[in-house]
């Protein structure tokens, strides 16, 4: 089965969520949480190999915080764009499914990239095959695959390449 190292990030995340749920933390709650975390750390479960890609360094944490702000800005900007499209009387849309290519190697990085693309209005990830993403785009303005890749993926990819390696 998978190694102990793979399960550590997931158990830390779940412990953090549990700590938020039971605030304010008292001593008995803390003891229960630590005991449960140790039990879950010992039991191997399938699918934990994905978290083996995560490695800690201060540069990655800094890039992660920068990525959160960049991502929130992209979400607000494109939400206003879609709001304009919905409210204008002619409904100026030109939808279709385009294929773009990503440079990311790790599967966790691809997962975060696909979720970011889906959360940004105007684009939904329909399918992933190895390094190609199929994206439903509400307003196709280019026929070229490289230009589409540049418009959708590369802004996120610049940060995620550093974070997930």
């Amino acid at each position: 089965m998978n190694k102990l190292r793979f399960r550590v990030p997931l158990v830390i995340m779940v412990f953090g969520l549990w700590a938020i749920l039971v605030l304010p933390i008292t001593t008995p709650k803390l003891i229960i949480g630590v005991v449960l975390s140790v039990i879950f750390l010992i039991i191997p479960f399938p699918g934990a190999e994905v978290y083996g890609d995560l490695k800690f360094s201060f540069k990655k944490v800094a890039y992660f915080i920068a990525y959160i702000f960049y991502f929130l800005w992209a979400v607000v900007k494109s939400n206003l764009d879609v709001a304009f499209r919905v409210l204008s009387p002619q409904l100026p849309i030109n939808p279709g499914i385009v294929k773009v290519k990503t440079k990311l190697k790790s599967s966790l990085g691809r997962l975060v990239l696909a979720n970011s693309i889906t959360l940004t209005p105007g684009t939904i990830t329909v399918d992933i095959e190895n390094e190609f993403l199929y994206i439903h785009w509400i307003n196709i303005d280019t026929e070229n695959q490289e230009l589409a890749t540049g418009k959708i993926v590369q802004g996120f990819e610049k940060y995620l390449e550093v974070i997930f390696g």
């Binding site: 969520l17 938020i20 749920l21 605030l23 979400v75 607000v76 939400n79 879609v82 709001a83 919905v86 409210l87 409904l91 849309i93 030109n94 939808p95 279709g96 499914i97 385009v98 294929k99 696909a114 979720n115 889906t118 959360l119 940004t120 209005p121 105007g122 939904i124 990830t125 329909v126 399918d127 199929y134 439903h136 509400i138 196709i140």
Partner: protein, 116 residues
């Protein structure tokens, strides 16, 4: 003063929810309804929870948990729905009048694989 700012943030979030439902009514096909529907609700509900965090600071942890939860589950469910719709063979259509299918890289590629 601070509660007026919080309620204005909540009002903007509610307007985004209204926008999502208008988009759901006006858009011509399933994928575009998904675009308008599931994304604007994410931003709208997150703005509403943020407003309530400013307004009612006692329960900030629960609201924060809701924000994290919606942020992680909403793209997953809309991606699963889009994938299932494409698997069922629902084609994206261009606009309300014409039934011509627009560009669809995923479908043409699957067809050429089946032919060869």
């Amino acid at each position: 003063m601070i509660d007026i700012i919080a309620s204005v943030v909540i009002l903007v979030g509610a307007l985004f929810l209204l926008l999502a439902s208008i988009g759901l009514l006006r858009m011509p096909d399933l994928y575009n309804r998904m675009q308008a529907g599931t994304k604007a609700t994410t931003l709208g509900s997150i703005l509403i929870f943020l407003g309530f965090i400013i307004l009612n600071g006692d329960n900030w942890s629960k609201y924060l948990l809701l924000i994290i939860f919606i942020f992680f589950t909403n793209p997953l469910s809309s991606h699963a729905l889009a994938r299932a719709a494409h698997f069922m063979g629902i084609n994206p259509i261009l606009d309300r009048e014409s039934e011509i299918s627009p560009r669809d890289d995923l479908k043409t590629e699957k067809d050429t694989e089946a032919e060869s």
